[in-house]
Symmetry: C2
């Protein structure tokens, strides 16, 4: 059946994904002569840059999520459907979703990225990703479950494992998470668990290259590392994680780490849908697009944001998989679709790199805006201001601001809650068992 | 093993449960010459009176939960353990928990109550309880999942089922939930789902007796019913739910109700632990206690709050299972324990009934304080003030106040999020299958 969305004499734009790219695109097409259909498996837009604050109990999940239907309230010819999209049939201009088949005139793939476990079964099963709100809540639960367990366990080595946290990947997410854990260790956990010896607790940030935040300048990397070390984080450079089965982290050096928690922020790959020409899927599982974000070989299919790789001579790797690219591409493709509707030529996408930033802790951040590079308290204010203003919704901004102000003045984090305890999913438990069974057979 | 809590020369009070009763008791024993051990299966105190606001997306879950460790920060000789308690062995002064055996000098059972499905298997499997934060979040998810489904379904009768909500039990919880659903129907849902016809949506509040809020006065009941009807709630009196298997609600009258959602607020029973003398468990699965809240036949075991039934001539049913009784008993037993430590006589518990209240919607509440009975906007302000002041934690009060102020001025509810989609648990799915298999055999 191809039903459930009213037919219209306007051309239909189907957008898959309500992340930064998809939302910006839909906004820029407001009442523009297209019928817009947005599909997402969630009914909300998640502000991913603050997931680490949910995971470390500084913010409640609901304040970084915003109902998609609310964003587009009052839009004419806009239809949201909560659905997972599995396939596209380009020859028939048809998308196959979990609720029905949907025909399109223009298709926009804004499906983002997913955690890249490097096809390592142990890591896939046992490490903690942090790409979605449920994953961040899982991590929050696990952190506090670990300390509750550490209190009652008699085996010292197991207690050490419960109190150790290893983060693989020192990009912005890994650095920010490590810093936040460092603050938990300094200010919160010793008050909650006065019986535990927090000199035992170790936070390791493992990075394969020779510095943290490799996308930023050397001076920012050094500054960030210094901040991290001040917060008690042990930065382990030139080291790659090889394997993990839930108890200790094996690396390519002499050093291994006993830890019940490995948080995997060491890489993402694109999350394209099935049905596109295999040749259009390039490095990093991304979809190759031309300078108009059109999927290679297609006339009416676009890809934007993390999932799109606009490979040019100047940019042989495509743009970085970050929010500003997604936002700019969403707006740009929106403009181009309006030009198409006005029978005008599309114009090629130009990325304006406004810089990068990362926060490590209170009064500790690094910011690079063009040639300006600065750190410390001022950088931290800039970071907070930019993130606060980027949040969707007045309510969310106020609640986040209030929580931050409160954390600032009394170094507290109110959300130390285990609402839904973390446990390995049934699928992962089965995979774990199968994996060990296989190991036994293989010797 | 009986380890993990340091031995002390002070007598040990073990409190099972961090609800209203348990928290008040522990507070009143602050640094009082006892070693306090609190056990709860959650690491937070949940403010149950506002669960219905979480379920209807007016408040985030984290603002009505407060970490138990934080409440007791800085208490000397206080030990919290996240653990489920399964049994007590009174002869050995020992509690058997999920983490270990714990010896006590005084045991306080403050385990509260649980939803009473009247031993009906269909209701147990298919209706939605709302006694905990995870249950309230499940209900929130289900509400919005229903409307997402209603949009894409072709079968009209099924759409009707998805858009109907039946609430069984018109005590304060049922009434407040029905009112909140009425407000969702009036102000929020038609904007989110402009394609659906909300004249189809029905909210039925079913009550076995002849009025809503039977614990309040007749005039308050009538007022509350009028408010409910203004919000579009259909009040169905003198009717009992007989059975439900997920599709339609069977009652003891001619009238049945097609509904994919039945919310069960029609009763609770005590949730005692195993190991007590069977004779001490009385009507409503509560533990019979004397006027000092001592469990009948025990010298050093007390029960307080919902789980305790203090049966006297004046009070042949025990006190009502409400928060004020739990709070007062917690404080009172705390005082008596201090008297014991000072070799003084205990004094018998006296309940001060300060009244009752329920809110139905904006500017619509009923309040009874002693002989004063009033409704309308002023009652609503009183209700809000009392609930705001009862919340634990400055942060929670500010966030709840802000959300209420915002809801007041623009009738909005920001938390329309399906973070963890609701689905029947594996256990319930299996029970459902077993139930139907049995039906087939029995014919």
């Amino acid at each position: 059946m191809k039903i459930s969305i009213p037919t219209s004499d306007k051309p239909r734009v189907v957008i898959i994904g309500g992340g930064f790219a998809g939302v910006e695109l839909a906004k820029s097409l407001k009442n523009s002569g297209y019928q817009i259909v947005m599909l997402d498996k969630h009914n909300y837009h998640a502000f991913q840059p603050l997931l680490y604050q949910v995971a470390t109990s500084a913010l409640e999940a609901d304040s970084i999520a915003f109902p998609l239907r609310k964003i587009f309230k009052g839009y004419k010819d806009f239809y949201f459907r909560m659905a997972e999209v599995n396939d596209v049939i380009p020859e028939e201009n048809l998308v196959i979703s979990s609720i029905n088949e949907i025909a399109y005139d223009y298709l926009i793939i804004a499906t983002g990225s997913k955690t890249n476990f490097m096809n390592n079964e142990g890591l896939t099963i046992s490490s903690m990703p942090m790409k979605s709100i449920p994953e961040a809540l899982n991590l929050r639960s696990l952190i506090f479950q670990n300390f509750e367990k550490a209190l009652v366990i008699t085996n010292e080595r197991k207690r050490q494992g419960l109190m150790n946290f290893v983060i693989a990947g020192a990009g912005p997410t890994g650095v920010e998470l490590a810093g936040a854990l460092g603050e938990l260790k300094s200010h919160i956990l010793p008050k909650d668990y006065p019986e535990l010896d927090f000199s035992m607790m170790q936070i390791y940030l493992i990075q394969s290259s020779d510095r943290v935040l490799p996308a930023l300048s050397l001076s920012s990397s050094e500054k960030a590392q210094r901040y991290l070390e001040k917060l008690g984080v042990k930065v382990v450079l030139n080291t790659r994680v090889l394997d993990y089965f839930g108890d200790y982290v094996q690396t390519n050096t002499e050093e291994d780490f006993v830890a019940k928690t490995l948080i995997w922020t060491a890489g993402v790959v694109g999350a394209p849908i099935n049905g596109l020409d295999a040749k259009s899927i390039v490095r990093g599982n991304r979809i190759e697009v031309d300078e108009f974000n059109r999927v290679k070989g297609c006339k009416n299919i676009f890809a934007i944001g993390d999932v799109a790789a606009m490979i040019t001579e100047k940019n042989p790797m495509g743009h970085p998989m970050v929010a500003p690219v997604a936002i700019q591409q969403g707006k740009w493709v929106g403009k181009n679709l309006k030009r198409i509707n006005q029978k005008k030529e599309m114009s090629p996408f130009v990325y304006h790199d406004k810089g990068a930033m990362a926060t490590i802790g209170k009064n500790k951040a690094v910011v690079e805006l063009g040639k300006m590079k600065f750190g410390g308290a001022f950088a931290w204010y800039v970071w907070m201001f930019v993130h606060l203003m980027s949040l969707v919704g007045f309510r969310n901004r106020v609640i986040v601001f209030f929580n931050w102000a409160r954390n600032y003045f009394n170094s507290d984090r109110g959300m130390r809650l285990i609402i839904i305890p973390f446990k390995l999913s049934k699928v992962k438990r089965q995979r774990k068992k199968a994996f060990y069974d296989k190991q036994d057979v293989d010797g």
